[in-house]
Every structure is written in C-alpha cells, then in structure tokens.
C-alpha cells in the first residue's frame, strides 16, 4: 500500500500565553488523532523538526553556499511530518482531514511517497 507524507506547515504564532489547560487539550487532541490512525494500522511514523537553527544549501557548479534558515521570524516553517499508509489520495485526504494541525492555524501538504524497489 502506498505511503503518504503529511508535511505540516505552520504559521509561527505566539503560543507563549497558552494556559497549561489549553496545552494539555492540544496534546490530547493530537494523541487521539494518531491513536485513531494507529488503531487502523495506518500510521508509519512522524518527527518534529526544530523550529530554529536550520541551514539552506545551494550549489553553484562545484561550489555551494550555506545560509541560515528558516528563522524564528519566518512567517511559515515546516514544523514536522507524519507518514501514513493509504490506498490512494482520497483515503489519504480523509485520514488527514481531522488532523488537529488544521485546527490550530497550520496547513498540511500531502505527498505520495514514490515507492522504491521492483
């Protein structure tokens, strides 16, 4: 079955004032979502990417240039990704549609992973 990657784009917003209660609720929603997918055997994994300290590398012939980025001030960063298993895009969309990320101001880029092997 094909794998799909959910790239979680997030608008960097000020979360510093969220209450402990709010924070607990957000975590609970994410856990409920991934638990639901896990129960159907649909989730393959996921990782959080650090918000700051990234590097952009660009090549010029046999040279390359490194710049820092994204910055915390960037309007949008990829916050992390999940990999899920689905029959096709329709199912992948359906499984992603209640990802709490959508509720909290982010958007999801859904991409099918090109299968390797024979």
């Amino acid at each position: 079955m094909p794998n799909y990657m959910l790239l979680l784009h997030e608008q960097t917003s000020d979360v510093s004032q969220l209450s402990p209660e709010d924070i607990e609720a957000v975590i609970a929603e994410y856990m409920a979502w991934s638990a639901k997918l896990a129960a159907q055997g649909k989730i393959r994994g996921g990782e959080k990417l650090r918000d700051e300290g990234g590097r952009h590398l660009h090549g010029f012939g046999d040279k390359f240039r490194v710049t820092d980025g994204p910055f915390v001030e960037a309007k949008e960063v990829i916050g992390g990704y999940f990999t899920i298993e689905a029959e096709n895009y329709d199912e992948a969309v359906r499984l992603s549609s209640d990802c709490p990320h959508l509720k909290y101001g982010g958007w999801v880029e859904l991409r099918e992973v090109e299968p390797t092997g024979e």
């Binding site: 979360v15 209450s19 209660e21 607990e24 609720a25 856990m31 959080k48």
Partner: protein, 422 residues
C-alpha cells in the same frame, strides 16, 4: 472538515495545571522565591516544548520527569544568562527529587506536597491583600492562567496580571522565602492562608458571577489546597479541619444546584440522593477532626451549618433551631448583612413569614444592590398575597443580577406570580 476529533477539554484531568503548580513550587524551592518570574517562564516553556514534540514523539512514560528536566534546564540557562556567574546555587537534593522520582515513590509525593505547602505560605503571606493572595495562589500553585482567573473573577485580564505582578514584587521586597513558618508565626500565617482559601472557594461557589466550568475548578482547587494543610502534621489544626469540612459539605451539594437545563434549583427542590456522597464522607471526616481543642472558630460554626443542611434526610427535617443558634453566634461575633439574610430565611422556617418579613425590611438599606435580597423579599411578599410588591421586587432583582441562570430563575418566579390570563 467533517469527522473531526471532538475537543477533549472536558475529559482531561487538569494534569498540566497540577504539573505546572508542582514545578513552579519545586523550582522556587531550589532557586529561591525571588526567581519566581524566571521559574514561571521556564515552566511555561517546558509545557510549550511538550506541545510541540509529544504529538510526534509520543507522550513520555514519566511526563512529569520530562517536563521537570526541561524546565530546570531552561531555568539554569536563563539564570546563567542573566547573572555573569557560571555557578548557580541549586539545592543539592534537587536532582534526587526531580529526576529519580520513580525510585523514591512515596517520599517524592510528600516532597511535592511540602513544596506546594511552602508555596502556599509564600503566596498567601499577610503582606499582600486577600484578593492578591487568591490570584497569586491560583496562578502559581494552581497552574491557572491569567485568563482563567480573570474569567472566574469577571475581571479584565490586564487588571489580574497587574495584581499578580504587584503582589510578587511586594513579596520579593518583603524578603519572603520558601519555608513552613516557624511555630511562633504559624497561627497567623495559617489564618492568612485560610482567609485566602475561603475567598477562593466562595469565588467559585457563589452563584453570582463567572463562567461555570472555571468556577467549579476554583472550588476543587480550594479543597485540594486545604487538604494539603490538613494532611501536614505541622500545619493541621481543628480550624483547618473545620474549613475543610465546610468546603466538602458545600461542594457536595454543587451538582444539584442546577437542573439538567442549567436552571437554578433551591434547596427544597434538590435531589438529595444526587449529592456527592464521597465529599459528604470527607466532610464528616474533617468535621470530626475539627471537634477538638477549646477554640470555636467562625469556620467551625459555618461548617456546622453546612453539616446540618447537608446531613438532613429531607428539607423539612432540617434542624432549623440549631442552624439559627449558629447564625446568632456568628452575627454576634461580626454582623454581616448578607449572612443576616440567610439567618432570616432560617428564622422564617421557625417563626413564620411575618416575623422574617418584618426583619427583612430593616435590611433593605444595606442590601439595596443585592439581587438575592429582592428574590427573598419577593418570596415573602408572594406568601403574604402581595403580588404587586412581589413583582416589583423580582423586577429589581432582575435588574441587579448579572448572571443568566439567576435571571432565568427570576423569570420563572415572575411567571409563577403573574396570572397568565388576567
């Protein structure tokens, strides 16, 4: 987006609030109460870090240890940055307390209680006003946000934030430390705490203002904190148990104070079987413990009134005589118009409508802006057949109330008085 996961906020157990309060207390004990701002920022950072990583990595087995480690590291980082010295004075037991908690189990739990008690004494120091004590305690010990506290107090977030900031700097200036007060100071310091908890409870319990959910949380936070005091061998006393008993008896009746539509129910209408039996049992436990020593505090009298109301098998079998005696004694000690109103309702049960109504009118000046006064007045006027007066009183009560369920209650009463087809 159809098929969304429902919001789970009703089912969560306030774990983060408790963790937050425990971490702030524990870190303040290690770094000093004067570092409270740094500590609070570090704790908040650790919760945000959890929110950003746990959805991907999963929730760690020992959540508290994870949060504590993160918060402690941030605290040390930020203290290093602000002071040039590289060595930070950390309580040497700190590592043991915060990170090996699964090894020490029970003693760790009592350490956490100890941290929190010290924090309660710091936040409820007599140097700051009772209101400030409540706000600060809710924030630092209870893990409530400024927004949630503002909700409960029907105040602006700005004013609560200012109140807390001023309270903290006052406490820092007074050199308040994290400690259980010495035996000499203890009685006054405990009184200062009890006064704040009494206010906190009433803020939550009172039917007049605020958002229902937050208010309920305030009630249970007050019970949690008084239980900490009652449990500790140094801070417990008959007075502490009396207040704990009062809280438990009152809170036990809370689920029945409104029906399933959120409409207010008066005591006579409430389903006594639906009162919280566990809280009643807890109340009785504290009530028994409070009956020692030779000092009868106001809390003892109030607990006794609550006990009689709560333990009566039915409304009509309430021991009004005994309740009246307690009210009389309280009023002798310090007269309160609002309490007098409650006393007169009891008097009405014993001596009839006329006796209560006559005295009620004398209270008119002092309670001229008190919605419940006019609701009670209307009740007696209706019983005396003076429906025009009763309607006017209810109209006044409506005007004075800022609470929707009270307003609906008044509307219901109005309909009962005014004939539908005149």
């Amino acid at each position: 987006m159809t098929d969304r996961v429902p919001v789970l906020s009703e089912t969560i157990d306030h774990l983060f609030r408790h963790h937050s309060g425990q971490m702030v207390a524990s870190l303040c004990r290690s770094f000093g109460f004067d570092k409270i701002d740094t500590v609070e920022d570090a704790v908040q950072d650790s919760l945000i870090a959890a929110m950003k990583t746990w959805p991907f990595s999963g929730v760690p087995v020992d959540q508290f240890a994870w949060l504590m480690r993160t918060a402690k590291n941030r605290c040390i980082d930020s203290l290093r940055r602000s002071s040039k010295s590289t060595s930070i004075d950390v309580d040497e037991n700190f590592e043991l307390r915060s990170e090996n908690n699964e090894l020490i189990g029970a003693s760790f739990a009592s350490e956490i209680d100890e941290d929190q008690l010290q924090m309660i004494f710091a936040c409820c120091h007599p140097a700051i006003s009772p209101d400030s004590r409540v706000a600060l305690t809710l924030k630092t010990v209870g893990g409530f946000s400024v927004g949630e506290i503002a909700h409960a107090f029907l105040a602006k977030e700005d004013s609560i934030a200012k109140l807390i900031t001023r309270a903290k700097s006052k406490l820092r200036d007074s050199g308040v430390r994290m400690e259980i007060p010495t035996p000499v100071e203890l009685p006054d310091r405990v009184d200062s705490v009890l006064k704040a908890l009494y206010l906190m409870f009433n803020e939550g319990y009172g039917a007049s203002t605020g958002e229902a959910l937050t208010r309920k949380d305030l009630v249970f936070e007050a019970i949690r904190l008084i239980s900490l005091l009652a449990k500790h061998p140094v801070t417990t006393s008959p007075k502490v148990d009396a207040l704990a008993a009062l809280f438990c008896f009152q809170a036990a009746r809370m689920p029945q104070r409104s029906d399933h539509n959120g409409e207010l129910l008066i005591l006579a209408e409430q389903d006594r079987d639906a009162w919280d039996k566990r809280l009643i049992a807890r109340g009785l436990h504290h009530f028994r413990l409070s009956a020692s020593g030779d000092h009868m505090s106001d809390y003892h009298l109030e607990a006794e009134i609550a006990a009689i109301y709560t333990l009566a098998a039915a409304y009509f079998s309430t021991d009004w005589r005994r309740i009246l005696t307690c009210y009389d004694e309280l009023q002798l000690r310090q007269f309160s118009p609002v309490r007098e109103l409650n006393r007169l309702i009891v008097l009405g049960e014993l001596e009839g409508t006329e006796a209560a109504y006559k005295r009620l009118l004398d209270l008119g000046k002092e309670l001229s802006n008190y919605s419940l006064f006019f609701i009670t007045k209307a009740h007696y006027e209706n019983l005396r057949g003076e429906s025009v007066l009763a309607v006017a009183s209810l109209a006044r009560a409506f005007e004075l109330s800022d609470n929707d369920s009270v307003k609906r209650f008044i509307t219901k009463k109005l309909a009962e008085i005014t004939p539908q087809h005149p």
